[in-house]
Structures are given as C-alpha cells and as structure tokens.
C-alpha cells in the first residue's frame, strides 16, 4: 500500500474542484473525492491489519522515504502505525460527513470545498509523516484554511474568532517550531527524522527545555488548559463543516502531536512534567464541564464540553500508563466522531430555527425526529453511554489512571470521573430544552433532515457505534503502538 495516495487523492480532488465549472459539479467532485478517501482509509485499515497478521512487527508499516532537502537532512519520510491508522480513519469519516453537511453552501462554493479538501490534505499528511519537518509543514497546511473558512463563511463575531484562532494556533506552531529546531540541533546526527530521533538518547537538559515547548505548542491545538480559549469562539463562529473539521480533526492534530512527538521522543521530559499535565488536564475536565453548564448557546455548549473531553485526552497522556494512553488515543477518535456529529446536528438545527440559543427552542422532537434523535445520541455518547464510543474510551482512561497508587493520581482520577455526572447535567439540560418540552410557536413547519444530512449523520453514527459495540478492534489496533511508547518510558522508570 502506497501511503502517498493519502496525500495525492485530496490533492487531485482539490485541483479538480478548481477546474470544474459550476457549484453542482464542485459538490459532486468533492463528495467523490471524500468517498474515495473514505474507501482508501478503510482499505488501509485492512491492509494494515493484514500486514500485522502476517507477522510484520516493525514499528511503522508502509514506510517510504525520499530525499527532500539533503543539506539539512530533511526527507519526505512517511509511514503508519496503529495510532496513525486510527486517526486517518477518523479524518476520513469526518471529511465525508463534512462534505455532505455543507451541501447547501451557496456562497463561493468552489473555494469552500477547495479549502475543506485542503484541510483534509494537511491532516492526512500530518498523521502519516515521520519527519518533523514535513510534519510541521502539514500542520501549517491544516491551519491556514481554517482562518479562511471562519473568516469568510462564518457567523457572529467571525473576524475576531478567525483572528484569535489563527493567532493562537500560529503561536502554538511557533513553539512547536522552536522545540523542533532544538531537537534538531541537539541531536548528534542533525536529523528531523522521528525514527532516527527516537533511537537516539536526547540529553535530559534538552528534554527539559524542548518537551514543554513541543507539548504546549501542540497543546494549543489540542485545547490544553489554559490555551483553550480559541475553542469556544472559533467553534461558534465557524460554519458547520468548519466546526466539524476543527473539533473533529484539528484538535486531534494537537493531541496526536503531543503523543507522537513530545512524549514518544522525550520520555524523560514527559516524566518530568507529567504532574503538571495531570493538574492542568484535571482542571480542564472539571472546569470545562462546569463552564459548559452555564452556556446557553448550543455551539458554546459543545465547544466547552470539547475542552472538558480533550482534558481527558491529556489526562490519559499525562498518566503515562499503557492503558491510559490507549484510552487517550481512543478518546481522540471517539471525541472526534462524536463532536463532529454534534456540530453537524447543531448546524442542521440552526439552519432551520435560525437560532443557537437553547432557551429559544423547545419540543423539536415533534417536528424533526431524525435530527433530534441524532442530537440525543450524540449527547449520550458525550456523557459516556455504553454502546457508544465515549464510554469505552473514558473507562479505559479511568482504569489506566487508577493504576497509579499514590493519592495525587487518585484525586486526579476521581476528579476526572466526576465529570461524567456534570456532563450528564449539561447534556440533559441542552437536550431537554431543545428537543423536549412543548413545541415553541413558529417551529411547526420545520422540515426534518434531507438526504445529505441523514447520510452525514449515519456515517458518523456508524463510526461511533462500531467503536462502542466492538471496541476490541480499535484497542487491538492501538495497543501495539502504545506498548512501544510505554517501553521507552518504563525503561526510564
């Protein structure tokens, strides 16, 4: 399996979008491209499993390496392990759903879809790159379209939100860049290659400096407290597909980077700062949840709950146990799917009621059963109902966190567990006010979901249920990869 396909396919789609004439063609081309990506991702999953089943135990599969800029030892080095496959699958699901949900964009359709596909290109590239330089390259590709998506097609305080988001993310990338260069110049081989760097022993002093730089840098993307403030404004102003991509994919770029670059390259640094990460993420989990409780705008509710849920990811990473780390990766996938679904549904509701304020809605179950049912399922997934993906990932994180015996970790775990109650409170408040209760006047003639919206929701639901009902395929995928990372850490312990 040639991994460059993952980059070429979006590229070809993007170019094709630029070439075709009218909006209808643009949409169909985008949908065809997204579906092709989707199929490719599924094929990749099976190819990967087959290769593993054949006994290939090397850390990365399907590796490819081309010289790119030999003078500085930069090479186009790509390859995947289980974690990357999981993230690629997530991206593929969200992209298809995002393309379908945006079917009604009439303003600058071509540019909109072009940017969406470009964003997916950046995400795929990021998830498969094994060279810090091209990793950074794709990270930046994934940032710029977001600025335009929010600034042009957004709503509300869109200029402010777009600026804030782009500046904070750029600030994050700047930290990443500095940390990356630090690693490059401190390593004796002067290499950006992740595989090479992970075999070297990076001096402890360097790790002490570079780890926080890289972790915080990626943490800004992943909504690490207190660098999460772009999340609420960014999400609430973005167009539906923009929010979906932002929460479903972009935030995962950050947490993936934290794991792939910061923790797996610098285990000593990770040990050094683990407690700080745990404190920050525990705060984020509870504080995000409590802040959500007070929100009245559906998009803000989901954005703040994302802060809380992403806190769980960082908690899982910070615990530095294999179970918790697996849980963190599962949470990335699960949260990506769930939150994308949530935003998709919010977009559908907004399009019909023209409001995002929960207290202006009520009884929508009567007029749009499909949409509200999906909203309900997304909510249940968010509050960790068994059978949906949220449950397995959260429980894995909790069990993994509990493996530590000291009081500090115990308290952090209990605090994290408490979030499941608060989550239930805000999710039920939101759903109770929007979907249930007497139907508000003026909403009697609203239409239920159209085919494209139904399809988008179903695609994401399939992902959520597939993980929720049969989590073992995902853990089997992720476990070998986290095991390798943990080996490095346990050697130091």
């Amino acid at each position: 399996m040639n991994l460059t396909l993952l980059i070429l396919l979006p590229l070809i789609t993007a170019i094709a979008i630029l070439l075709v004439k009218n909006a209808t063609q643009v949409k169909w081309v985008a949908l065809a491209g997204a579906s092709a990506q989707f199929i490719l991702a599924i094929v990749l999953l099976f190819a990967f499993n087959k290769e593993r089943a054949n006994g290939n135990v090397s850390q990365m599969l399907f590796e490819l390496q081309y010289k790119w800029f030999p003078a500085w030892n930069i090479s186009f080095h790509i390859g995947i392990d289980g974690i990357s496959v999981a993230m690629i699958l997530l991206t593929a699901f969200v992209v298809v759903a995002g393309v379908l949900v945006s079917w009604n964009i009439t303003d600058k359709t071509k540019e909109f879809y072009f940017l969406l596909i470009l964003l997916s290109l950046g995400a795929y590239g990021f998830f498969i790159s094994l060279d810090l330089f091209i990793l950074f390259f794709f990270l930046e590709i994934a940032v710029i379209p977001k600025y335009l998506l929010i600034g042009i097609w957004g709503s509300g305080k869109k200029e402010y939100a777009a600026n804030k988001l782009a500046l904070m993310l750029m600030g994050g990338s700047a930290l990443v860049l500095v940390g990356m260069l630090g690693l490059y110049f401190s390593s004796s081989l002067k290499s950006f290659d992740l595989m090479v760097l992970s075999k070297l022993h990076i001096p402890t002093e360097v790790q002490k400096i570079c780890f926080p730089l890289l972790f915080v840098g990626f943490g800004v993307f992943g909504a690490l407290f207190p660098f999460h403030t772009w999340v609420p404004d960014g999400h609430s102003s973005a167009p539906t597909a923009g929010s979906m991509f932002l929460a479903g994919i972009s935030m995962k770029l950050g947490s993936y980077g934290c794991l792939r670059v910061a923790i797996s390259l610098m285990p000593e640094g990770a040990m050094q700062y683990a407690n700080i990460i745990i404190v920050l993420s525990s705060i984020a989990i509870l504080y995000g949840a409590f802040a959500t409780m007070m929100q009245k705008d559906l998009k803000y509710i989901n954005a703040y709950s994302s802060v809380s849920h992403c806190g769980l990811i960082f908690l899982g990473l910070g615990m530095l146990t294999k179970t918790a780390m697996t849980g963190a990766v599962m949470q990335m996938v699960s949260h990506g799917l769930m939150t994308a679904l949530f935003f998709a549904v919010i977009g559908m509701i907004y399009e019909r009621t023209h409001t995002k304020q929960v207290n202006e809605m009520g009884g929508l179950l009567k007029v749009m059963p499909f949409i509200t049912t999906v909203l309900f399922i997304a909510g249940l997934c968010s509050l960790g109902l068994p059978g949906l993906s949220g449950f397995v990932s959260e429980m894995t994180i909790f069990v993994g966190s509990w493996e530590h015996t000291d009081t500090f970790h115990r308290i952090a775990t209990i605090a994290a567990c408490m979030s499941i109650v608060v989550t239930a409170v805000y999710i039920l408040r939101a759903i109770g006010q929007t979907a249930m209760g007497p139907l508000k006047a003026g909403y009697e003639n609203l239409q239920d979901a159209r085919w494209n919206e139904k399809l988008a929701a179903i695609v994401l639901l399939i992902g959520i249920v597939a993980i929720g009902f049969a989590p073992f395929w995902l853990t089997d995928l992720i476990n070998p990869a986290t095991e390798l990372i943990m080996q490095k850490i346990s050697i130091i312990k």
Binding site: P226, T229, P232, F290, M293, F398, W402
Partner: protein, 643 residues
C-alpha cells in the same frame, strides 16, 4: 452445560425488538409494534423459564450445592493483563431467578400496554424502548463481569430515562426524566469508583475471580485490600460502600431516592415494570451478587443495614400522606426495597446465618409480583378515571370488579396477611432481623404496620369511600389485554409464597430449610391487621376524621407531606451551589480571566505597534538618518566591543 444460544437469546430478542422497532417502527409497524414486541418477549420468557427449569432441576446442582456457571464469555475490551471487560453469561440461583422475574413482569407489561397505550402516536417507539429496557435489565442480571454489569446498569438508566420522558412535551415529565438520570448517574459515579477500587486490589473484573480473591483471607489480593486504608477505613470497605452507593441510587435508597416519586411521570405500565418490579431492585441484586465480599466487611454491611432500615421507615411514613396514588406506590416500593436491603445487611454467609440473604431474594421475588400488580391495577384505575389524585376517586369497586379484586389481593400480600405471598417473605426477613439485630426488628415491625395502613388507605380511597364523579364516556376495564396480566399476577401474588425458596436461593448455594414459627408470626400479622383496621376506620366511609387528624398534626403533617423537604434541599444544592457557586464563576473565569489574558496579549501587541509605528514616517531623509546612526552604532560596536 446449558445451551448457550438459548440463554443468549433471552436478552437478545428484546434487543432485536428495539432495533427493529426503533429503526423502522414509525414507518412500517406503528400498528403491529405491540404484537412484535410482545411476541419476541414471549419467546424470551419461555426460554427463561426453560433455563430456570434446566438450572434448578438439572445442571445447576453439584453435590447439593448450586454452582455459578459461566457457560460463555469473551473479551470485549482489555485494559491490561487480567483486567478486561468480558461479555459473558453467568448462571447462579439469583441470576436465574431474576431472569424469570424480569421476563415475566416485562411480558405482563407488554401485554397490558397493548390496550393501555393503544392509539398513542409513538406506539412503536414505546415498544422499542420497552425492548431496550428489557434487554438491558436481562443483560444486567446475567453479567459475569462487574464492568459488564456497569455497562448494562447504565443502559438500564438510559432506558428508564427514555421511558419516563416518553411524554416528552410535558415539562414535568422532562424534569422528572432528567432528575432520574442525573441522580442515578451521580450514584453510578460511586459505583464506578468502587469498581476501580475493587478491581485494583483484586486485579480482575470477573465476578467469580473477584469474589474468590477478595473472600479468601489468605490471598495476597485480600491482604492488600484490607491492608490499605484511607482515613482509617480499609480499601475493601471503601470499595464496597462506593459500590453500594451505586446500588442505593438505582434502588432509590435514602438520600438518593428523590428521583423515584417523580419517575411516576412515565406511563403507568412503565412504572410497573421499571420503578416497581425490576430496575429498582438492581441495587439489591448488586449487593446480593457481591454478597460474599460484603460479608467480609462488617462496616459495609452495617451501612447497608442502616440505609435499608431508615429508607424503609422513612418511605412508609411519607407514603401515609401522599395523595397521588402512583406516588404512594412509589414510596411503598422504596420502603419494600429498604426491607430487602437491610435483610441483606443483617445476613451472614452460609447456613442458617444466611437467612437474611434468602429472605431478601424471596421478598424481591414476591414483591415483583404484587408490586407490578398494584401498579397495573393503579394503571387501570387511572385509565378509567383520567386522574392520579385520590380525591377524584372513590367507590370504584362496582365499575372495576376485576381490578378491585386483584388490587385487594396485592394489598393483602404487601401487608403481610397470610397466606398471600408477601407474608412468607416478610416473615423471613423479620425473623432474620429478630435473630441478628433487635433494633432493626422493631423498626421493621413498625414499618410493616405502617405499610398495611397506607396500602389500605389507598385501597379504601379508591374503591370505597365517597362516590367519584364520573363524567364523559367510560370504556369499561380496558379489555382482555389489560385484565389478563392482572389476573396472572394476582395468581402469582397468592401462590408465590408457597415456593420453598430457601431450597433454591441461599447465600452459599446449599439448600436452606425455612422454619415456620407460627408463634413468631403473631406479632407481625397482628400489627398488619391493626394497620388495616385503622385504615378502614378512617377511609372506608367518607368522613372528616382524616382531615381533622391532619389538622391536629399540622406541622409534622406538612413536613411529611413535603417529603421532609428533601426535594427543596436538592434544589438548594444544585441551583445555589452547583450552578451559582461553581458553574457561574467557572464560566465567568473563562470569559474574563483566561480569555482576558489572551486578549490582553493581543492588545499589548497592538499597543506596542501603535507606539512604534511613528518611526515609519515616510520621510526618506529620516530613514537615511536612522541608517547612518545604525552604521555608526555597529561600527562602534565592532571597534570597541568586539574588536
């Protein structure tokens, strides 16, 4: 070994019903949904009865002791070596008994709803939810893994939420379903942490292994669990108490009971199924499932006893003043579950000491019959009169003869009048209490007197007393579909007591002979009859005695009528503390401080650029001057500093 597929089908058939009706019900089966659901459950029930027969009379017993069989399990989610969620089936006396109870009550409710819910717009959805609930409850009882139980525990919670909120356009129903879910969720947090604690020490999540490791004093796991302590209490006790909190939440024990009365907002058959007979006993079942471990920790059992006995008394007192018939039944459920709880709490493990355990399970079994009957009867009354309030009822015995008789049987059963089912099980509980803890015995005796009183208050207010004003059209008793379950359950309420329960269910699996002491029974039966006569005196004929009594007890009466102000307390905690003291400051902090810092960074940058932009003046000569000065400066540096 039993046939795995036939057992697995017991929970899976209702799930099939849920998926089928949930996805396609509204479009294709809105009329036939009831029959599809009922048929699937009928098959389930038959399979459950077959399994019970097979287990109790064929394969279950080895050397006179009922075994815990795990005919099937597979690893669903592996956390780490040895610690994994397995999906499996575990057959032991209590799970098999629960299979029977759940399927039978559920089947009755399915049949009953055919008539009761007829003509509802979301008829198919209703049956889908019933299927989901039945699936989750059956999955819960056959769990072989504590985390599997937690999974179904949560599913049970959500299906209860869906069914309470079935009339979703009624704000009170919405509030009730939210309350039920959140309160039980809060309790589940305890359960979850309890699981984490126990599994951490036992290094397993599997019930059998966990019980085995935590009950043998010689094992390393047990030593570790007893050795570790937090604020002077051992980890084992902590784990068990936390697990019990989960059970107390589902079983509506004090102080987590507040959701149960409100849960009556759901359709009445649902109340019969979930909030009377099956789901609310999940907490009792959980304690019974882990009973061997509980018996290793006296403090944990003490907590169970204390909570059980206070809930029983407390709920019985409140039930005496409520006027909504479903609420009376709800509090009576809570009181009876309190009986089951403390019966477990005072029980020991094995032999005669284990009488409390057997009694508790026995009471669970008989209670399911007569409580379901009471609720379905109440449903028939409500169906007829279109009101839940006692003041709208009276003299209905002429109009609803079958309902009347079956309701009377259920009332006699719950009051502990021989030879009805409740008599035998309650007797055993009292006997066990008498032997182990006299204080508990006296409170329980008082409570059973109160039980008889409020049940007959209910009975006389509905079927006797003043004549209700009947207006509009009335359509008889609701037909065969509603009467059949009443009759069947009435038969159950009469006969269930004669089952030699101790032979099948006991704390150690060996048969337990139940000794019947008629001398002992005199006191409970007398106090029960006393309660009945007081109720008759007060409520059989319309009079002003009750009102006078209420007036003379004004302060106390009001306190009880307002359920000891528990709801107000909870509202205070959630509204004032959670929302105003935590939520609002958190939101404010985020908007102003965290966001403020980010904006401040932006603003500072802007401010600086505002200040220095003057240097870009557009005047060429000024630039040249800076340029010159720069060169001079650099030259100076090279000459004097860097040489």
């Amino acid at each position: 070994m039993p046939h795995v597929i036939s057992i697995a089908l017991i929970p899976l058939l209702p799930l099939v019903g849920f998926i089928l009706l949930g996805l396609f019900g509204r479009k294709y089966f809105n009329k036939s949904a009831g029959f599809i659901g009922t048929f699937l459950l009928l098959v389930s029930t038959a399979l459950a009865l077959y399994t019970a027969y097979q287990y109790f009379f064929d394969i279950g017993k080895v050397n006179g002791i009922y075994q815990k069989l795990v005919p099937f399990k597979f690893t669903w989610l592996e956390f780490s070596k040895g610690v994994s969620i397995d999906m499996g089936i575990m057959l032991d006396p209590i799970s098999v008994m629960m299979l029977v109870v759940v399927t039978i009550v559920s089947l009755m409710v399915h049949i009953y709803s055919l008539a009761y819910m007829k003509g509802e717009a979301r008829f198919a959805t209703y049956y889908a939810f019933l299927g989901l609930f039945t699936f989750s409850m059956l999955g819960l009882v056959i769990s072989s893994n504590i985390f599997q139980m937690y999974i179904f525990w949560e599913l049970v919670g959500v299906s209860s939420f869906l069914l309470i909120g079935y009339y979703y356009d009624k704000p009170s129903a919405v509030a009730a379903c939210k309350k039920a879910f959140i309160v039980t969720r809060f309790a589940d947090l305890g359960f979850l942490i309890g699981i984490l604690v126990l599994s951490f020490y036992a290094h397993t999540l599997d019930f059998n292994t966990l019980i085995e490791r935590l009950t043998s004093p010689a094992s390393n796991e047990f030593k570790a669990a007893v050795g570790a302590s937090f604020i002077g209490i051992t980890a084992l006790t902590w784990g068990l108490v936390l697990v019990f909190i989960g059970g107390a939440g589902k079983s509506a024990m004090l102080p987590l009971h507040i959701w149960l009365p409100d849960a009556m907002e759901g359709p009445t058959p649902v109340s019969a199924l979930i909030h009377a007979a099956t789901m609310v006993v999940a907490g009792v079942f959980l304690v019974a499932r882990l009973f061997p471990v509980f018996s290793m920790s006296a403090p944990a059992l003490y907590v169970v006893t204390f909570v059980g006995v206070t809930s029983a008394l407390f709920a019985a007192i409140i039930a005496c003043t409520q006027t909504d018939i479903k609420r009376v039944l709800a509090y009576s459920t809570m009181s009876q579950i309190g009986f089951m709880m403390f019966a477990l709490g005072i029980s020991g493990l094995g032999g005669e000491n284990g009488l409390g355990y057997t009694a508790s399970m026995f009471h669970l079994f008989t209670h399911a019959m007569f409580k379901a009957l009471l609720f379905l009867g109440a449903g028939a009354v409500i169906h007829y009169i279109h009101s839940n309030e006692m003041k709208d009822m009276g003299g209905l015995r002429k109009y609803l003869p079958i309902t009347h008789i079956s309701f009377l049987i259920a009332c006699l059963a719950i009051s502990g009048v021989p030879p009805f089912a409740g008599f035998f099980s309650k007797e055993e509980i009292l006997l066990a209490a008498y032997h182990h803890n006299p204080a508990v015995y006296w409170i329980a005796l008082l409570t059973s007197g109160l039980t008889a009183f409020y049940m007959f208050r209910l009975y006389f207010s509905i079927f006797w007393g003043k004549q209700a004003h009947l207006h509009g059209e009335h359509h008889g008793e609701g037909g065969f579909a509603m009467m059949l379950p009443l009759l069947l359950l009435a038969v159950g309420a009469v006969l269930a007591g004669f089952i030699p329960f101790g032979h099948f269910v006991s704390s150690d699996g060996a048969a337990l002979e139940s000794h019947f002491h008629w001398q002992f029974s005199v006191a409970p039966v007398l106090i029960g009859l006393l309660g009945i006569f007081v109720a008759m005196w007060l409520y059989k004929k319309e009079n002003d005695k009750p009102a006078k009594m209420a007036a003379s007890l004004n302060g106390i009466y009001q306190t009880i009528y307002h359920k000891f102000y528990f709801d107000e307390l909870y509202i205070f905690i959630t509204k004032k503390i959670l929302f105003n003291l935590i939520g609002r400051p958190a939101a404010w902090f985020d908007k102003n401080v965290v966001d403020g810092v980010m904006n401040l960074t932006g603003n500072t940058t802007q401010l600086i650029s505002e200040k220095i932009k003057g240097y870009q003046s557009g005047k060429v000569q000024q630039y040249a001057l800076y340029f010159l000065l720069g060169i001079i400066g650099i030259a100076a540096l090279f000459i004097y500093v860097w040489k």
